[in-house]
């Protein structure tokens, strides 16, 4: 009994220590999320009043039958898949290159060059990219012209807008995925590779059956991070395209924000809840698949 009381009084310190953290989490995390979910069940015009009118799933039905939202959701998913693949492929490729024995010097320089954009304020980076793509100011088309290559449509063309922001976002994010691959590569078991070499494995076989399986943790982490990252794509759209041209880059976060700006709170928060569910569902699925590890 005294021991239990002693434990409790010792625990009191921990409640005190956790209190500010818990307060912030509740005040600026849980409460807004619940509020957002609550608002998604109310009529927009009454959403901010003390006694809002509840409309059940009407906002969700409205959103799910809104063709702009469905197109936006489809765009978001397509962009996410393309971005995850492009970023991870680039990051893995560059990490392997930096880890190989081929580069004897300059390793730190290459690493810094690729990672610097990660800590560069995204607004600043995307502002520069926006103008790099510009037809009259931009360096990109000037360079293409110099090389005698056809002009790149950049942000103003329906065909190239998605690709343009994908490149700018890759520039900003890929360094982060790269250092995770590098960290994973540096702790791998090199004895296994030597053994494989002695057994006569080709370079490809060594990569495919010895090294790649060991990179599984980094692959899972990077996939989950990149999925969450690109599903939420927002800043790049605000800075570079405002959803255009012709809704080509009007992703869910941006569309929801626009509705919010128009005081369509119910629909905006319904979209937020739908996106939240997708983020959680996909992340959990990715972890689940990653955990289902054969032979370990």
């Amino acid at each position: 009994m005294t021991e239990l009381l002693g434990n409790l009084s010792r625990d009191r310190v921990f409640y005190l220590l956790v209190a500010p953290f818990a307060a912030l989490t509740i005040l600026l995390g849980i409460w807004p999320i619940l509020l957002s979910i609550q608002v998604s069940f109310t009529a927009s015009a009454t959403a901010l009043r003390p006694n809002p009118t509840y409309v059940g799933f009407a906002n969700y039905l409205a959103v799910l039958s809104d063709s702009i939202f469905l197109a936006s959701l489809w765009r978001t998913l397509l962009y996410t898949v393309l971005s995850v693949i492009a970023n991870l492929a680039f990051a893995l490729g560059f990490a392997i290159l930096l880890d190989s024995t081929l580069l004897k010097r300059g390793n730190l320089f290459f690493r810094l060059a690729i990672f610097l954009p990660v800590i560069t304020p995204d607004v600043a980076g995307y502002v520069v990219w926006r103008w790099l793509y510009d037809r009259s100011f931009g360096a990109l088309n000037a360079a293409l012209e110099l090389l005698g290559l056809p002009a790149f449509g950049g942000l103003s063309s329906v065909d190239t807008a998605l690709l343009s922001i994908l490149i700018a976002e890759l520039w900003h994010h890929a360094g982060f995925y790269m250092i995770i691959f590098l960290a994973n590569l540096s702790i791998r078991d090199r004895a296994l590779e030597e053994a494989a070499q002695i057994d006569g494995a080709t370079t490809w076989q060594r990569w495919r059956y010895v090294i790649l399986p060991q990179l599984r943790p980094a692959l899972v982490i990077n996939t989950v991070y990149a999925l969450i990252q690109f599903l939420k794509t927002f800043t790049v759209v605000v800075v570079m395209t405002k959803g255009g041209p012709n809704d080509q880059t009007n992703f869910v976060s941006y569309y929801a924000y626009q509705l919010f700006d128009q005081a369509r709170y119910g629909e905006a928060t319904a979209m937020a809840t739908i996106l939240f569910a997708i983020v959680i569902g996909l992340s959990l699925t990715a972890y689940r698949i990653g955990d289902r590890e054969p032979g370990r």
């Binding site: 625990d11 500010p20 953290f21 807004p32 999320i33 580069l103 304020p121 980076g125 924000y257 939240f276």
Partner: protein
């Protein structure tokens, strides 16, 4: 043997070409931004690729001395103050919280706090900011520094780095202190905190870099440009019609340079810390 060596040489040359080429492509936007900040808008339009400015003058920084009716120095001051204070608050609150949660994972309510936090960081950030606006309104913090700083104090990376560190402290170390009759407060201040200095430095550095870049919560919680930071000012300047291109580039330089310099000074700590914080997630 010589054939093999020649093939290796070729492979090496290819590896260097790819590595150098990609690195220069990644760095070019910085160079272009820097050069454009020193060139008149008309000069850039006629020769966008010119690798250095025609003349070298800091005139532009006085031209953008006022943006959106607010002094440039105010934005600089806001950036420094908001970033520094939110970093301090974030490190203190998260360190203590993560410490309590790792020392007593089974204490009633602690699991709930941890899950609540994990759910919060899964929520699409920019969509969380919107209901946060309503909460700030209810708390009367709209348009205040306090509201901005409080919101910027919560971050996943900070939490994971501290949690990971506290989990690695051997139980024997704590038990030895308990046997010596130390109170929990003494254990924290005399045993744990001294050990946690390096991780605290890493987390502070990374939080500073991350919070310096923040813009959306600051824009939403602000009631006027008086509480804007550099990235927010840059965004509003960039959204203006017929904007001053040279001025935008100069402001982008001002927004980027401090964190780029800080990162280059402490690159090892930042890259290792960010990788470690993610691996936990």
């Amino acid at each position: 043997m010589t054939d093999g060596m020649r093939a290796n040489r070729l492979l090496q040359a290819a590896a260097y070409t790819v590595a150098i080429g990609t690195s220069l492509l990644f760095l070019y936007p910085y160079w272009w931004m820097l050069v454009s900040a020193f060139r008149p808008t008309r000069a850039i339009m006629s020769a966008p690729l010119r690798p250095w400015p025609e003349t070298f003058s800091f005139q532009i920084f006085s031209e953008i001395g006022r943006i959106g009716g607010v002094n440039l120095s105010t934005y600089v001051f806001n950036s420094l103050t908001i970033t520094t204070l939110s970093t301090l608050l974030s490190v203190i609150v998260t360190a203590l919280g993560a410490y309590a949660l790792t020392r007593r994972p089974k204490a009633p309510g602690f699991g709930l706090i941890r899950y609540g936090f994990l759910i919060t960081i899964m929520y699409p950030y920019m969509l969380l900011v919107i209901p946060v606006y309503l909460v700030m309104f209810k708390l009367g913090l709209l348009g205040s520094y306090a509201g901005i700083i409080l919101f910027l104090a919560l971050g996943p990376l900070q939490f994971f780095l501290f949690e990971q560190f506290f989990r690695k402290i051997p139980n024997e170390v704590i038990e030895a202190a308990v046997i010596d009759g130390a109170s929990e407060w003494q254990i924290l201040t005399k045993v744990v905190l001294p050990m946690a200095m390096p991780i605290t430095a890493t987390v502070s550095l990374i939080t500073f870099l991350l919070n310096w870049s923040q813009w959306f919560p600051i824009m939403v919680i602000s009631r006027s440009p008086d509480t804007y930071t550099l990235p927010v000012a840059l965004l509003s300047m960039n959204s203006e019609l017929g904007s001053n291109f040279q001025g935008i580039m100069a402001l982008a330089v001002l927004t980027t340079l401090p964190v780029a310099a800080l990162f280059l000074l402490a690159q090892k700590r930042v890259m290792e810390g960010m990788a470690a914080g993610a691996v936990k997630g």
